[in-house]
């Protein structure tokens, strides 16, 4: 019965993309927050951004929604809308103070994730983007399990260039294989830094083992793109503004837009293939 309730709720979702990484702090939430805004073009997509990082919910701050609360209606919980076509849900909206800690073991976290999927009235959505915490544990198992009622297009995996990240990301890719989650591709974030003064490049997080490029070759997954470090990214996230709008000329903006376009193309193709099969 529960599976049926989930299926019903998720019936109106066209595409679902999970943003994963084995490693923390590589830019999952940053990317998830930019994804809905990253499209140019004629079409206006209806996007839902679901933050299932229960202990460290970053999305409200990054989207400029700190202090917002969730409202209940007859049809369920209302997401918090950034724009008319972008709704957000996060445990962050359920906490009353920025100091409130969510000190929960796995089962309770799973319960909330299920509620987020079952009780939030998302309406008709073109894209459901799910931002996750680092790791391969309760949250990840649960979201894959609960979303099996809908259809997941795949996972976008974020990494930084150095081996200490890649070693965790390989585990995440293995997790995806284990749970039969397609890997749309890998994004290498924080890929080099150009000094604003002398314009020389420094590899702050050095790709000592070949970076994401080598890893993708070895594991036969797509490298969607590389995004350089830009101090404006952190500033925009802190201010809750869209980096893509704040710094349209930045090389990082160009990289992000290209990556988002490739993901959209993947989802479109995938959809088309599915329709063909039917």
């Amino acid at each position: 019965a529960e599976a049926a309730a989930l299926r019903e709720r998720l019936r109106s979702v066209k595409h679902t993309v999970l943003v994963l990484s084995g490693k923390g702090g590589v830019g999952k939430s940053t990317f998830s927050g930019l994804f809905p805004v990253g499209w140019g073009g004629w079409f206006v997509f209806q996007v839902a951004l679901l933050d299932i990082d229960i202990c460290g919910p970053s999305i409200p701050k990054m989207m400029g929604l700190e202090g917002e609360q969730v409202h209940q209606s007859g049809s369920g919980w209302s997401p918090v809308y950034v724009e008319e076509n972008l709704g957000v849900m996060s445990v962050g909206f359920l906490l009353s103070s920025p100091d409130d800690a969510v000190i929960w073991r796995g089962p309770k976290k799973n319960g909330l994730i299920k509620q987020f999927l079952r009780d939030v009235d998302w309406g008709e959505i073109d894209y459901l983007i799910v931002d996750t915490p680092p790791g391969t544990s309760d949250e990840h198992l649960s979201i894959v399990q609960y979303l099996s009622a809908a259809h997941i297009d795949g996972a976008v995996i974020i990494t930084t260039p150095q081996e200490v990240s890649l070693q965790d990301v390989r585990k995440e890719i293995n997790f995806c294989h284990k749970v039969k989650l397609p890997v749309i591709g890998v994004v290498e974030n924080m890929s080099g830094f150009i000094c604003p003064k002398c314009k020389n490049e420094s590899q702050i997080f050095p790709p000592t083992t070949g970076g994401a490029e080598k890893m993708c070759q070895n594991l036969n997954v797509s490298l969607l793109g590389k995004v350089p470090l830009d101090p404006q990214i952190g500033k925009s996230c802190d201010k809750g503004q869209s980096f893509l709008s704040e710094a349209p000329e930045s090389p990082a903006t160009t990289s992000y837009r290209n990556i988002i376009q490739r993901i959209q193309e993947y989802c479109d193709q995938h959809h088309f293939q599915e329709e063909k099969i039917i």
Partner: protein, 266 residues
Amino acid sequence: ERSNLAGVRHILLVLSGKGGVGKSTISTQLALSLRHSGKKVGILDVDLCGPSIPRMFSVQDNDVHQCDSGWVPVFVDQDKSISLMSIGFLLEKPDDAVVWRGPKKNALIKQFVADVAWGDLDFLIVDTPPGTSDEHISTVEALRPYKPLGAILVTTPQAVSVGDVRRELTFCKKTGLRVLGIVENMSGFVCPHCSECTNIFSKGGGEELAKHAGVPFLGSVPLDPQLSQSLEEGRDFIQEFPKSSAFPALTHIAQQILDGTLQRSS
């Protein structure tokens, strides 16, 4: 029967609400600094999904052996001055994902706390994953009888990190874990070509948080490509790069920990 932690003088945890701020880096550098001050140090890595510690000491291919009192920790060199325990040593293949729910993680953490034959140590540093969940609750509960010294909280300067670390401070308060102080990592980058300093991840958030929360501020550690490189290659940064930009801050943090323990004993 003597507990495996009976010979450990001081236990300290390295925490952060946020991922990727440098908990394992700080744990590693703290261990190396303390070793250079003549101390015997152990690191217990309770990040079960993303264990970073073994590689940072270049011992990722080592195995763990059993003895009468339990598991023998992995020594990083002949001196046996730094010993490690991590799930990284228990994996058959390094890319194997540990896809466990809470209860299984809790069981291993209890074993890690009780069954590693550390012997005599001056310091046991416990490196944790980000968050305030199973691993953290279980680790604090298991360590409680051994009265840990406290916790070092690591953040990067920007508000998005500080926001999570505020929650971790609440976790410490609620679980009765003393906060030894806050470290602000990745605090500025000095270009090696022209010496221009860029605050890639902003600046000052960690120091402000320490002030706001009334806890000691242990220092700001800058972004240092030589540090990143050393960690990648499992080298001893404290020994090999004393002139590097991160060295003064890292050794200062270790010194404050040492001074703190001296104060406590006197």
